[in-house]
């Protein structure tokens, strides 16, 4: 391998030397080189080890289809890129790269030492060998994981940022080769807005090779490119891979904006990569094609390359891949490659399985052309040293039959071509199936979706002129112009697949996953028939390259083994992504708090100053508890709970969902969505409501205040606000459009400070002069409009603790002021702020349910022991009413909500703990839904759902946590504290 003398159209800049590191050693390349071309120019042949057998692998391709040269960039830094393809990596000064494979290194791989056992490691080896005894699998897995996969995952946070971009265009052209360039220009000239995308750093696609062979191609490229660059209608995105094509022409494309820039020179204010969401009226797929390798023994040896890649390295990077090349294939393209190699000063040998191609120009130059032969094996210790070729014979019934008297040809490069596979991927993403062309021996794009066109070599064009002509034609069509149809593609003369006789030799199909022809045969022998099953059993086409070089060969082998035509075998499903996409760019800027925003109440700063611990409740950051000194949660909660029970507490209840309901039918809406009655609720009163869906199961609860006959304020659970609002909207718009009612979410408009405890009235009397807070004139479940600390407020006497409680609702901007004023005024009563944990304990002591904790979507109001909240006599039956009498909902033995007391008062059950009727029983009769230590009772309490539990009061049952313990306990009523409701009016 060497760098050639400067060529006219090479795309490297020899004035800019670039120094980089590979496997810890220093190398030099030029600006414009990929890591692959720079390594080849430096004579590096070994770039990786194979997945399963640890075999030596070299660079095979020059583009994204490369299966072997997986590399890690900038390892162990915040710029770590695992499994980049060396063929796509543009080198930059001080790049650090290493192989993604090799245990411990690519020079010495442990797996290669297992060679004597490789013949036992065929497809399904892992399933068959390590499945039993099942108990040992975790041990096996631990070891196998070390051997599996390629690169290590990054171990540092990503140092770079990513973003998303929405684009709208008339025509999106995918692929910047001859067809794409022509299509873009034609559409733009016809007046369309055009977006042209190409995955490489520079436009041109395979024109780079054509330009090396034909100056006319270069001239056409220069002219077209200049016209596009200057065109006001055209936007060009290079280094941009269209990786998915979805319905309605949504193209997803990944733009690599800084991957080619030296780490230190990257702009920290600019994203590394950008995801473009492109809505295009028309899409032109000019995606090109990938060459297929030939199937022969040791076809994975370093030095075996795709023929087209050899030419590409020669013309684009002026790199000669071998000095003694052998060019071998089943189609006409190999002769062009041989002519390129002659031009580069070598004397290649050409091996063609067919007869009859006129290669006299080559033979005249002394090139050995062996027609009617093909390669059967590559040999060499660390890279190609010679090739074995044998005679071929073709018959329609048996296809190619290869003889067994091989001749040896010395060579250091095997440039092979097994035909070309059009890149139908994007066309298939929306469900189209490719069809098999016998003439071209390839799966072709169906292009059967509206507003979509294909052009160029993806459609079978083998010459750039034909591709460009078709590009121009579809460009005009995409722009809505009339155009004269172009000639049918000039297809390459390609012979049938040469499938090897599968013997003991290793003939690789999928290099990345070490899938051999014999694995396909084994899978079929074991009765896998669908290509989708064969793929999954053998791992054909898995991995980062998704079988770009190997899949179609694998399908051909499967067809031969099953004696079916290739079209009957079909392809596996092409799914996005076309090439790997970073997790970072998928997330874009929606990471951290932008991914899951935090919501704060207006009192947040006060809570923080008080040293509150927070918990997340439906995105809200709610104070969990307010520790003092060195208190842990249990100590803090005990102190808070006792303060509320015996003295005075305060809580931020702003997060409850609030829905403002107005209109003549507001009351009717409440009656329909809640299970209880609303007809008689007078202005100034509040009522607790229980909400079911049409299956009769509880979905929400909360208190609603009657502001006037046509105006109500509903509260929902904190986490249920959006869901319940959707629920109401849906019913109002679909079943009940006749109801005259408007609903508005006002959760954020109000903030709520709850003043709770026996001394609450004394504090309220201090803060609020215009409301009579006496028990007689402001009874439980009433609300009053008044002024608190000078701020207009709605004060509600509702309670989630069983204590005297006033909830002060003010316009949200006053929330912090009121909270701090209450705190200040409460000092003389030693007021104690408390959080959600104490709230949970206090409500459990009273047996109040939390929807979503004590109910789980399978609990009816009757199951929850809340028959008191069900009114069956309303004029319009409430949602879920009919369901409550269904045979299953009404049957005995349903799980019902009860209280539990453990025999040992200090034993606190785990929530979720299973319950059984007998010590030895394995039959679950229920589970614990809530469990706490109650400071005021001095013992543990729990709520649970138990089969038929309401009829089992006083029964002894057992809890079985995830240990060998059995905890005896008794079923009791779920109200543990103040059963007589004597505390609700506080200190009179």
């Amino acid at each position: 391998m060497k760098r050639l003398y400067k060529q006219a159209n090479e795309r490297i800049d020899r004035s800019k030397e670039i120094h980089f590191s590979w496997q810890g050693a220093h190398y030099t390349g030029y600006a414009g080189d990929t890591l692959a071309s720079a390594l080849l120019a430096n004579g590096v042949k070994l770039v990786g080890r194979s997945f399963k057998y640890g075999r030596q692998r070299g660079i095979m391709a020059a583009g994204v289809e490369e299966p072997n040269a997986l590399v890690i960039l900038e390892p162990e830094t915040g710029y770590h890129v695992p499994n980049a393809r060396a063929t796509e990596v543009e080198i930059y000064p001080d790049l650090v790269a290493k192989a993604a494979s090799g245990i411990p290194s690519i020079n010495e791989d442990l797996r290669a030492w297992l060679k004597p056992f490789h013949r036992f490691m065929a497809a399904g080896f892992y399933y068959k060998t390590f499945m039993s005894p099942a108990l040992l699998w975790p041990k096996y897995e631990e070891q196998l994981r070390k051997l599996a996969g390629f690169a290590t995952a990054p171990n540092k946070p990503d140092a770079e940022t990513y973003d998303h971009y929405n684009q709208h265009t008339d025509v999106a052209v995918i692929g910047g080769g001859a067809a794409g360039l022509a299509a873009a220009l034609a559409a733009a000239n016809a007046g369309s807005k055009v977006l042209l995308l190409d995955e490489r750093a520079q436009l041109g696609g395979e024109l780079v090779v054509d330009a090396g062979r034909d100056p006319a191609a270069q001239a056409w490229f220069n002219q077209t490119y200049a016209a596009l660059e200057a065109h006001a209608n055209v936007k060009i995105l290079v280094r941009t891979t269209a990786y998915a094509l979805h319905d309605y022409n949504l193209v997803l494309a990944l733009e690599r904006r800084q991957d080619h820039v030296t780490i230190g020179a990257r702009n920290p204010h600019q994203s590394r990569q950008r995801l473009h969401r492109i809505r295009a009226n028309k899409v032109v797929l000019a995606t090109g094609s990938h060459e297929r390798p030939l199937m022969f023994a040791n076809n994975d040896l370093p030095g075996v390359m795709l023929a087209s890649a050899v030419s590409r390295y020669q013309y684009e990077y002026s790199v000669l891949c071998g000095s003694k090349p052998l060019v071998v294939g089943n189609n006409d393209s190999i002769y062009e490659v041989a002519r390129d190699l002659v031009k580069a000063g070598t004397r290649p040998t050409v091996v063609d399985c067919r007869m009859g191609y006129d290669a006299s120009d080559l033979t005249k130059l002394g090139v050995l052309v062996k027609q009617g032969y093909t390669i059967v094996k590559a040999e060499g210790r660390t890279s190609v040293e010679r090739a074995l070729i044998a005679k071929t014979a073709y018959s329609d019934s048996h296809g190619w039959v290869v003889g067994d008297a091989p001749e040896t040809i010395a060579c250091d490069l095997i440039a092979c071509s097994g035909g070309f596979s059009p890149l139908v991927h994007l066309d298939c993403h929306t469900g189209s199936k490719p069809w098999f062309s016998k003439d071209y021996q390839a799966f072709m794009p169906a292009c059967d979706k509206p507003h979509r066109y294909v052009a160029g070599s993806v459609n079978g064009h083998s010459d750039w002129q034909g591709a460009a002509a078709e590009g121009e034609y579809v460009g005009l069509l995409a722009a809505g112009q009339a155009a004269n149809p172009v000639n049918a593609p000039k297809l390459l003369n390609v012979a049938d697949f040469i499938c090897p006789d599968v013997g003991r030799d290793k003939v690789f199909l999928d290099m990345q996953n070490d899938v051999k022809a014999s694995d396909i045969e084994l899978a079929i022998l074991e009765n896998y028939r669908s290509i989708e099953h064969i793929k999954r059993y053998t791992a054909l086409g898995f991995g980062t390259d998704q079988g770009k070089t190997g899949n179609v060969n694998g399908i051909a082998v499967a067809a031969k083994v099953m004696n079916l035509p290739i079209e009957a075998v079909g392809t596996t499903t092409f799914r996005p992504m076309y090439t790997p996409v970073t997790m970072g760019v998928l997330a874009g800027s929606e990471i951290g708090l932008h991914s899951d925003p935090q919501r704060f109440t207006p009192m947040q700063a006060s809570h923080r100053a008080k040293g509150a611990e927070f918990e997340v409740v439906g995105q809200w950051m709610r104070p969990w508890y307010f520790p003092q000194g060195s208190e842990d949660m249990h100590q803090a909660v005990a102190r808070e709970c006792l303060a509320v029970r015996n003295n005075l507490g305060m809580m931020d209840a702003s997060t409850l969902g609030k829905i403002d309901i107005q209109g003549p039918d507001a009351r009717e809406l409440l009656a329909r969505v809640y299970t209880n009655a609303w007809a008689k609720l007078a202005p100034g009163k509040c009522r607790y409501g229980l909400m079911c869906d049409e299956t009769g199961m509880i979905i929400d609860d909360g208190v609603t205040a009657c502001i006037s006959d046509t105006h109500f304020l509903m509260t929902t659970t904190t986490g249920g606000a959006a869901r319940i609002y959707n629920h109401l909207e849906t019913w109002l718009q679909t079943e009940w459009p006749d109801l005259k009612v408007y609903i508005t979410s006002v959760t954020d408009h109000w903030s709520t400070t709850a003043v709770v405890g026996p001394k609450a009235r004394r504090l309220m009397e201090k803060l609020c002069k215009d409301v009579d807070c006496s028990a007689a004139n402001f009874p439980f479940m009433d609300w009053r409009e008044g002024t608190v600390c000078g701020v207009p407020a709605r004060i509600m006497r509702i309670s989630f603790s069983g204590e005297l409680s006033y909830e002060i609702n003010v316009q949200a901007n006053y929330g912090r002021f009121i909270w701090e004023s209450v705190m200040e005024a409460g000092k003389e009563f030693n007021i104690t702020p408390y959080g959600t944990e104490s709230m949970h304990v206090l409500r459990a002591e009273k047996g109040y349910v939390i929807v979503g904790q004590d109910t789980d979507g399978s609990i009816t109001p009757y199951d929850a022991n809340m028959a008191w909240a069900v009114s069956l006599n309303k004029p319009y039956p409430f949602l879920g009413q009919r369901a409550l009498t269904r045979s299953d909902t009404a049957r005995p033995g349903r799980k019902q909500l009860v209280g539990l007391l453990t025999d040992d008062p200090h034993k606190v059950l785990n929530e979720g703990c299973q319950l059984v009727a007998e010590i030895g029983s394995k039959a679950m009769i229920g589970h614990v839904t809530s469990s706490y230590f109650s400071p005021v009772l001095g013992r543990s309490i729990a709520m649970a759902v138990v089969k038929g539990g309401l009829d089992l009061m006083g029964t002894k049952i057992y809890a079985k946590p995830l240990s060998y313990e059995v905890i005896p306990l008794t079923i009791v009523d779920s109200v543990f504290y103040d059963q007589g409701k004597e505390k609700i009016d506080g200190e009179i």
Binding site: D247, Y248, L250, N726, T730, Q733, P877
Partner: protein, 90 residues
């Protein structure tokens, strides 16, 4: 990822702005229906392959619900209509 024309906003907008709200025109039976009829209403859906008639809500827009007649294989949308327009037709 398809585009839906909101009949209220009058604009063709991305699917992400909308919320799927289930099959359209499910008849709510009266209270005296059988358990089976109620079970059908609550649990059973036609689940067709091909043309579906479904409710969508413009969740990040006007929050109105309407009917989308869509092919769930090709995602082709045949019609987007308000509930009122069906009533007028009937």
């Amino acid at each position: 990822m398809f585009l839906i024309h909101c009949p209220y906003c009058g604009e063709l907008r991305d699917e992400q702005e909308y919320r799927y709200a289930g099959e359209a025109f499910i008849q709510r039976p009266s209270l005296d229906c059988t358990d089976e009829q109620w079970g059908d209403y609550v649990f059973n859906r036609t689940n067709p392959k091909g043309k579906t008639v479904e409710q969508w809500a413009h969740a990040a827009g006007c929050r109105k619900l309407f009917v989308v007649e869509r092919n769930n294989v090709t995602n082709e949308i045949y019609a987007v209509r308000t509930f009122e327009s069906y009533k007028e037709q009937a």
